[in-house]
Symmetry: C2
């Protein structure tokens, strides 16, 4: 496999772009000096990007000039009307026109999702594309989906999410087994909604196909445990869980900061524990798992947080590289085939 | 209002009882030396309790001997069959037979809920009782409900929860205004399920009745902000949110502990910041808001965590005292009257 990975980047989306996006690319390159099998298509204001990029050590790229930027504040519909020919639009379209393998944008999530569906189309057999995110646990990282694309889900949706989430996990962490669990309010088989119970029994059968190990139900307080690594739920619950975790983390770290600067002793103590605390912060730095991955389309699209900085953007770029290199779309198609198979076996 | 508050306590439920429950009562008394307007009915093994309680500075109590204990491990149905005459059963029943104002148990939640419904009955006009909990925020404490009693909810349920949650908040914090918000995946009026949208418009009307201020939707990451203090959601979402917050908090504090004992410098530093860190831990100590309050029954029942210690149990006792003193049940009835009124106005 020596084929180059072509990564398309919307240079204009999100706060402080294109400075953030250009710096993010540079950070990605510096962190991955051992890699040389990638190429960037950069979409945006050519003269602006040229001016800024020449000071950087970035090679292997081509700038495609676009003069429309989709504003983050526009409602999705107006953004779509005005968005054809924008940096975001062309960045996605390049998977059809330029043989690009993956698209990355820090622009508006809703607009990016709708545009991606329009341009790339949904995979055969998938009803609803999903938004997947990364979430740290004690042993590494979870994939969690759906994070808000589908507020109401069917059994078929949840099963698709399981197979697609497993494919994503396997692309990002090829040496690990995907271990799927359904988010629920108890771990016993009899707990939860009828929808969850019927999904549970289907996933038990799919477990035998070898795409993932099905670990049953998982409760919210065990997400960070690391016994499972693909957490499946509907978009409403997933979004609430993700944001509640974010809020709790901010609440605790804010209170901790206050405590550690409360008086002169604690200030000295903070200095003494500077390196361990830095390690702690570093390990749990949300920029390392920022953004979301769209699953269920014919091509992969990654969304970086609009408000993240260049370091956060560089990690989204790493996700792009890994899922293209790991042939996530092929893995998804392969996995979805198993759903069809057990459906046929049922008949 | 000089009427004594009568508090019934299941002395046998939960881990390490009755030692935990006896110690918990003593801690409550020591922390509230200024209060003398309460009386305890203690349900459990009389000889055991007598033996242990005589060493404590606990007065104002009466022991009611019960020789059946509902095991935490029994399924709800078997527990119910065997449970008549148990310490838990009699503790609840005392609201009907002994003029008790409130019941407290650290036993099995499911069994306690079913027994409470059977003995106390659901309030007129309430379809489904709810489980409410306390959740710290930057300005004080939230009331959050439902935490798992009702995994699927109607508009009527969510409106009942809002009025009952406001009544609970007002009983616990009589000097504060109850500010209700609906947990959702966005804060704009158009976001969320149809159920949430129709509930939103009803709560807007109820806002004018003065029981609470309706603050609209709240996202998971704003629960700890403190702009709202009564967070309303269905039992599935509430349970996932609560447990996810718990898991996140444990994950962060475990990692912090590891960081602060990583080497000799950080160990010294931990000593230096002992008091600020203790203050931090103390402020966010989960024992201070342990357990849950059952809302929607004709009498108040409080559930302490089975695994909490005597300090945690003492805080549940404080909740019992406050909601009895604050006449929560009367407040709930008053608030529910307003739902009836706007329903009649609609006709």
């Amino acid at each position: 496999m020596n084929k180059k990975v072509n990564i398309s980047i919307d240079m204009m989306g999100g706060e402080n772009s294109p400075d953030k996006t250009i710096d993010g690319i540079e950070i990605f390159i510096k962190r991955n000096k051992n890699l040389n099998d990638y190429f960037f298509y950069l979409f945006g204001d050519e003269s602006l990007i040229k001016e800024k990029i020449k000071k950087k050590s970035i090679k292997n790229y081509e700038i495609i000039d676009t003069n429309i930027v989709v504003s983050d504040d526009l409602p999705a519909l107006s953004a779509l009307k005005k968005g054809k020919g924008s940096s975001m639009w062309k960045c996605i379209e390049s998977q059809n026109l330029l043989n690009s393998d993956v698209s990355l944008s820090a622009g508006n999530t809703g607009v990016l999702l709708v545009m991606s569906k329009m341009i790339l189309k949904t995979l055969e057999d998938v009803d609803k594309p999903a938004l997947a995110g990364l979430w740290p646990n004690n042993k590494g990282m979870n994939v969690v989906l759906d994070l808000g694309a589908n507020i109401e889900c069917s059994e078929k949706n949840l099963i698709d999410f399981s197979e697609m989430g497993a494919a994503l996990y396997q692309s990002l962490y090829p040496n690990d087994m995907a271990k799927v669990a359904l988010l629920n309010i108890g771990s016993e088989e009899i707990k939860g909604t009828e929808l969850l119970k019927s999904t549970y029994s289907k996933l038990k059968i799919l477990d035998e196909m070898g795409d993932f190990k099905f670990n049953g139900y998982i409760e919210g307080n065990h997400i960070t445990k690391g016994d499972c690594n693909v957490i499946v739920t509907d978009g409403f619950t997933g979004n609430i869980a993700l944001k509640t975790a974010e809020g709790t983390a901010n609440f605790l770290t804010d209170n901790l900061k206050k405590a550690l600067s409360a008086n002169i002793f604690s200030k000295i103590s903070s200095l003494l524990s500077y390196f361990p605390l830095k390690k702690f912060k570093n390990k749990l730095d949300p920029r390392k798992y920022n953004g979301a991955i769209f699953l269920g389309l014919k091509g992969p699209v990654v969304k970086s947080h609009g408000s993240t900085d260049s370091l956060g953007f560089s990690y989204s770029l790493e996700v792009c590289y890994k899922i293209a290199k790991g042939q996530m779309i092929d893995k998804i198609k392969y996995n979805l085939g198993h759903i069809k198979k057990i459906k046929n076996d049922e008949k």
